[in-house]
Symmetry: C2
Subunit: 227 residues, 2 copies
DNA sequence: ACCTGAACACCGTTCAAGT
DNA sequence: ACCTGAACACCGTTCAAGT
């Protein structure tokens, strides 16, 4: 009954930046999945269609948000200070995980959404990769191996973030049903199985990280001997 | 104008199994995201609401599909034949990746969707984990380490599948824009960077797998010496 | 007990205006 | 050039029937 009166906005009173900031705000109060065009419009006090003047689809808006997310993410990544290659790897991938685990919106945009990055994002990412690779090469790795090492640890770290994010969104089965399920096994040989082996915690992450570094140490020695 | 006549179905002509099979068929022709209740109903030639008699929400239907997907997945996992622990790990995780990379619907259900499994699925999974862990323990690993090793390789393999799936769904930026982006870096020290380091291919997967095994070998020797 | 269409509140997007 | 509401085709889910 009360007419949904809303003042017509002045020309130029909407900017792409305002839309992007509003989108981040809204995603933060809910979740990235909760971000819809009508809700965003309401949040910005703008007609729904007005957003389409600046972003020709929701996907294009999300791409822009992703680019901004990467900028914010890399802005938070501290510069490398370690001297030895293994300390550098630890520092880098621990930081990587810490930052994205602490910000669900950034995690959803940088890790969960897509692999189609903008040119700017690729530049940012590649520069960071190079930094790490360079240190590895300086300290005796071949360029080839250094890249593979980075790639493997990157996949591992993103795998952790991905699984941890799924758990935060959907939860895990309650411990009781889990215990019953494990009890149903014919030969539960090792009590440790009852622990959530499919879940990632700090110690799990650390084990994989240290183990990879151990493998790389052996490889480095072998590569050095070859020359 | 032509009245949308559809015969009323007989009582008992719809079964949960038929719904599930229809859902798998439909997801296969499109994608899991393309599976909607109206489309599924049309595919089954059933009223939309009828599905809700057997599954009280789409989420419950998806949970049932996930349980079935895990059954199919484990049905395809070959029994372990390797003798040495490292061969067993290779065999297991290569098979894991191969099967889920070859079936997008299974991958979406088992890897991408959720971590909230049914009791049956947990039993299936835990039994498989135990099989691997037991072999590691027989050959000199502590139960603790064996679990951590499994967990790390599982996270790594699922990370690969996750990233590969994202690429299949959304694609990656075209090589040209990528090359331009890399060229924009101030000091592109290593030409290898131009290669898609964020992408996962067979050789990338193998490197991480072998490297983890290398790390475990060192750890095993150390653990043996301690005793 | 089982099957059904109409209806509701949502979504992304387009159209045809208004200023 | 920029902002807008109405409208469209979709979605998941509920309701109030029908048999």
């Amino acid at each position: 009954m009360p007419a949904p009166v809303r003042q017509r906005r002045a020309r130029g009173s909407i900017t792409p930046e305002a839309v992007i900031n509003g989108a981040f705000e809204l995603a933060k109060t809910e979740t990235l999945d909760g971000l819809s065009m009508p809700r965003l419009a309401r949040h910005l006090d703008v007609g729904v269609t007005s957003i389409y003047w600046y972003f020709k689809s929701k996907d294009e808006l999300l791409d822009t948000l992703t680019a901004e997310a990467f900028r914010r993410f890399y802005g938070q990544m501290p510069p490398l200070t370690g001297r030895r290659w293994d300390d550098v790897l630890r520092e880098f991938f621990r930081g990587f995980r810490r930052i994205l685990r602490g910000d669900d919106v950034l995690c959803d945009l940088c890790i969960m959404r897509t692999m189609r990055h903008t040119e700017e994002t690729i530049t940012l990412t590649t520069a960071r990769i190079e930094e790490v690779v360079e240190i590895l090469v300086e300290q005796g790795f071949s360029a080839e191996t250094a890249h593979e090492a980075y790639s493997a640890l990157s996949v591992y770290t993103r795998g952790c973030l991905f699984i941890e994010r799924l758990i935060r969104v959907h939860g895990i089965p309650d411990p009781q049903s889990r215990a019953r399920a494990v009890a149903a096994i014919s030969a539960p040989a090792y009590p440790g199985v009852t622990r959530l082996t499919t879940m990632v915690e700090d110690e799990n992450f650390e084990f994989g990280l240290e183990n990879a570094i151990r493998g790389l140490r052996t490889l480095r020695t072998a590569e050095k001997r070859e020359r």
